[in-house]
Amino acid sequence: MNISPEVQFDLHRRMVRIRLFEEAAGRLAEAAKLPGFLHLYVGEEAVAAGVCAALNDDDHITSTHRGHGHLVAKGGDLNRMMAELMGKSTGYCKGKGGSMHISDLSLGMLGANGIVGAGSPIAVGAAFANRYRKKGQVAVAFFGDGATNIGAFHEAANMACALHLPIVFACENNEYGEFTPRDQTMAITDIVDRAAGYGMPGVIVDGMDAIAVHEATLEAVERARAGGGPSLIEAKTYRFYNHHGVQNLGLKYRSDDEVARWKERDPIFTLEDRMIENKVATRQQFDDIWADWRAAIDRAIQFAEESPLPTPDQVLVDVYTTGGAR
């Protein structure tokens, strides 16, 4: 497949946006300005960017506890995202959800999720509704390697295949679930081996290569839209920071050497090198892109900081559509 320079820039910009948002969130968390848990997506940007660039605005995604990258890649509003992380009333969830429940239904983003594996069955439901309405939309379920060990994932994959639904299962295999290495929790090396058991095609892609992820997704999405049923994409990737927060806190579950080796394959810098080498882009263009988005992130932080906190009377609002017990 030939990925045009425009699309390459699109992938790059999505990744830069995620990177800068996440780095800023990490800094704010370290300065104790963000409450709650924070699972950063840094290192895995090529997956969200490569997948979401293959989707339309009205296609659906379900996300995970590590969900900011998915929403940014789907076109999320940085101001409202940052405000949500700070628990402000102008945030995406009016301060009620926070990092782990960030969502934008108008962009088809059906929520980050605090329950590992819970997104996949919801994506099956979205795929079902999409086919039901016959508008050609697809659904993508993002999930981690660890999430494939939970019943919800297996039930979702099987049902999607049994019902032949327009869905793509996008696995971000970063080799760890929290602090436990993947090889201690499953007897297979490649998540993609599971695909055959449900009767869907599966491919492994380099999750540090946005173009490769994008190409694989285009194929899977095209199949889904054409009525060809579900697919599984396993993106081999890596998170650069700790499971939650930034610092590794002296934890020794990953060797410094392993982290360094993956960082050498930084998905953004390797794409930049490639585009410059192929004379698709210049360093100056990239510098401008980084500067533009840095400014956007600064504006988002300012917006969030200046936004009001929710008032206590909001606690009981939106429990039900109307009415309800007290």
């Binding site: 009620k96 939970i150 602090f179 606690v315 007290r326």
Partner: protein
């Protein structure tokens, strides 16, 4: 001497598990990240190094299979401790807990014995939002066959955890996330506190406060303020929520004639409703005021600290609840 020894709540849990494992080779632990990492709250810290990977098992992220592992191993002669990282995740394992663990003995005509301990961490106050902050103990207490334990101090933690492990029925041991670092007196030697025995945390003549988990400490803070105004609260911590030590609660109600039940869970359908009902059944003639209930509003736990701080019952709310119970007396008198 051991009277002087202080230990954090989390380490009291750890010590109970460690001593139980030393005493009984049939005790083992399984859960997510509990081995090399020692559990996300440090509850199982050092145990794998001490007892090996056969007895402290890192599991896949598979809550149903984790509890199922405990059910099957318990039914076939071992004494498992299985950990569900957050109380919210019991929902993922609900079939194994409710339809299997709780009922096996009864359904099999008494033949099966399930010495299973399920440990988990409940409660809010960390801005962990709606899926990592819940207090779901009332759901568990509603299931015949389960026992539910919720310690409020390091001392109770060690003794109750020991009792859970020795217990021949499935028990759920809930740790409160905000109490993990709390330090207090814990004897070095092994001991257990019988399940179903309440603790009178503070004696008082005017009003009884029934509270468990973190709310015990909020109640103590409220009681200290009220004492300055001459209102003496008796605080009772049931410690075990199922079976509930109704006798101790009712005896106190008969003495003080006023009761306030406090919990972090939502008020509607909470333990407070059950406790209030039992008190009015057993001590109706002794009551000078309706049994009051303090609990969270009927909504999921909100993320923003600006909301969560109003959501979780505070000592101020408890104080107001007590004053309301006392005020009725003045009006009536």
């Amino acid at each position: 001497m051991s009277e002087e020894r202080k230990l954090a709540y989390v380490m009291a849990f750890n010590e109970a598990v460690s001593q139980a494992m030393e005493a009984d080779p049939d005790v083992f632990c399984a859960g997510e990240d509990i081995g090399a990492f020692g559990g996300v709250f440090g509850t199982f810290g050092g145990l794998q190094a001490k007892f090996g990977t056969d007895r402290v098992v890192d599991t896949p992220i598979s809550e149903q299979a984790i509890v199922g592992l405990g059910v099957g191993a318990a039914a076939t002669g071992l004494r498992p401790i299985v950990d569900l990282m957050f109380m919210d995740f019991i929902c993922v394992a609900m079939d194994q807990i409710v339809n299997q663990a709780a009922k096996l003995k009864y359904m099999f005509g008494g033949e099966a014995t399930l010495p299973l301990t399920i440990t988990t961490a409940g409660g809010g106050g960390l801005s962990a939002a709606a899926q990592h902050s819940q207090s779901l103990e009332a759901i568990l207490c509603h299931i015949p066959g389960l026992k539910v334990v919720y310690p409020s101090t390091p001392y109770d933690m060690k003794g109750l955890m020991m009792a859970c492990i020795q217990e021949d029925n499935p028990t759920v041991m809930v740790k409160h996330k905000r109490l993990l670092g709390m330090s207090g007196h814990v004897p070095v030697e092994p001991y257990s506190i019988p399940l179903g025995t309440a603790n009178v945390v503070r004696p008082g003549r005017d009003v009884t406060i029934v509270a468990y988990g973190r709310m015990v400490h909020e109640s103590v803070a409220a009681a200290e303020k009220l004492a300055a105004d001459g209102i003496e609260c008796e605080i009772i911590d049931p410690r075990t929520l199922q079976p509930l030590d109704t006798d101790t609660i009712v005896a106190s109600a008969r003495r003080t004639n006023r009761v306030l039940v406090v919990h972090e869970a939502v008020r509607f359908g909470g333990l407070g409703a059950e406790i209030a009902a039992q008190i009015q059944e057993a001590a109706f003639d002794h009551l000078d005021a309706p049994v009051g209930r303090i609990g969270a509003p009927f909504s999921p736990v909100p993320f923003s600290p600006a909301l969560e701080q109003h959501y979780i019952p505070s000592s101020a709310a408890i104080e107001a609840g007590v004053r309301e119970a006392m005020f009725r007396n003045k009006v009536g008198a």
